[in-house]
Symmetry: C2
Subunit: 200 residues, 2 copies
């Protein structure tokens, strides 16, 4: 036992965080010792507060500390455009990009038969209900291009096909700033087949 | 406001930790949301526990949750050899190396006139008292080779000179595994002047 037990406890908790190895956990735990008492109390309370008070928005499934999230209750946002995302982290990414003024629907998962995740395990039925209540909405499916993402996209497409909905998906292609010769073949193939005319 | 307020609070606290930038703070805060309630409660309590219950050992100045630290109260350790260190982090480094069986004295700082840290601001008088109570002890000064480290080493050397103490310092030289041509000049100079005979 190199560390006093309370410190070694704290180090172990830091190690549970993603991407934090032994050295970092030690550095972080030691830094807590030199924080002000107020900061440590606040940090500690904020941890419990976040864990206990954040839950899914009853409309879109995004995390919120209210009944309905800030995005769904924002009157400036276009409720007729719904962007379907895998998780709340993707919502934060979209919000940071900052130029989307529609609303979201967070599936909180992707269909994955291998992991025994079926359509009824993720927020699909609530999406259908939302769509049915709207007048000719646009649904933008923004899921990643893995087997699970494509499966879920296809499933949603089938479900929505017969309704009065315009469906789109994000474009695939070259990420900004990427070197063409470093791209994987599938991305290049997609970028080629999704090519856009620049002159008529 | 992209994040619910309790989450953005938690992100801000994570940003106070050393080496944690915006992206990492966000990732860590989000990971807390998916930890078990028990883990979050434990983590939070352990943070306060460490901050409140750890203090300096009344003998050597190392951090401990007891009155006297585990090292000072270990009867297997040679109390007549005292290794003088800048801070408790250095104690952990020595303990990990694992082959030192003496005890420590943690100065909790280095003399630094620029930062207005004088000899009486660090644990020097308690070191002198310890030394005086021992019978011909060995004091190993293990401070870093910066201006502050060297100043403190010299100051301790002066204080100890007239007492019945054998004083040593760590050797300077090439770190294990380092390429000679990448070493700075001062380290090389020190390694040369501190060279050891390998044949008589």
């Amino acid at each position: 036992m190199i560390y006093p037990s309370s410190l070694s406890n704290l180090i172990n908790y830091f190690r549970k965080l993603p991407g934090i190895g032994e050295k970092s956990a030690e550095r972080l735990a030691l830094s807590v010792l030199s924080m002000s008492s107020d900061d440590v109390n606040g940090f500690s309370a904020s941890m419990i507060d976040s864990r206990e008070n954040l839950h899914q928005c009853s409309i879109c499934g995004h995390i919120t500390d209210k009944e309905i999230c800030d995005i769904c209750s924002d009157s400036n946002r276009n409720k007729n455009v719904i962007c379907v995302l895998e998780d709340y982290k993707s919502v934060f990414a979209f919000e940071k990009a900052g130029n989307y003024d529609g609303v979201y629907h967070v599936l909180n998962g992707l269909i994955s038969p291998i992991d025994d995740v079926n359509p009824e395990d993720i927020n699909i039925s609530s999406l259908m209900k939302r769509v049915e209540e709207l007048d000719n909405p646009e649904v933008i499916i923004a899921l990643k291009s893995t087997v699970e993402g494509e499966t879920t996209t296809l499933y949603l497409q089938k479900l929505l096909e017969n309704k009065k909905v315009s469906i789109s998906r994000l474009s695939y292609g070259i990420p900004m700033g990427a070197e063409i010769d470093f791209l994987d073949e599938i991305t290049l193939e997609r970028a080629l087949s999704d090519r856009k005319k620049i002159t008529e």
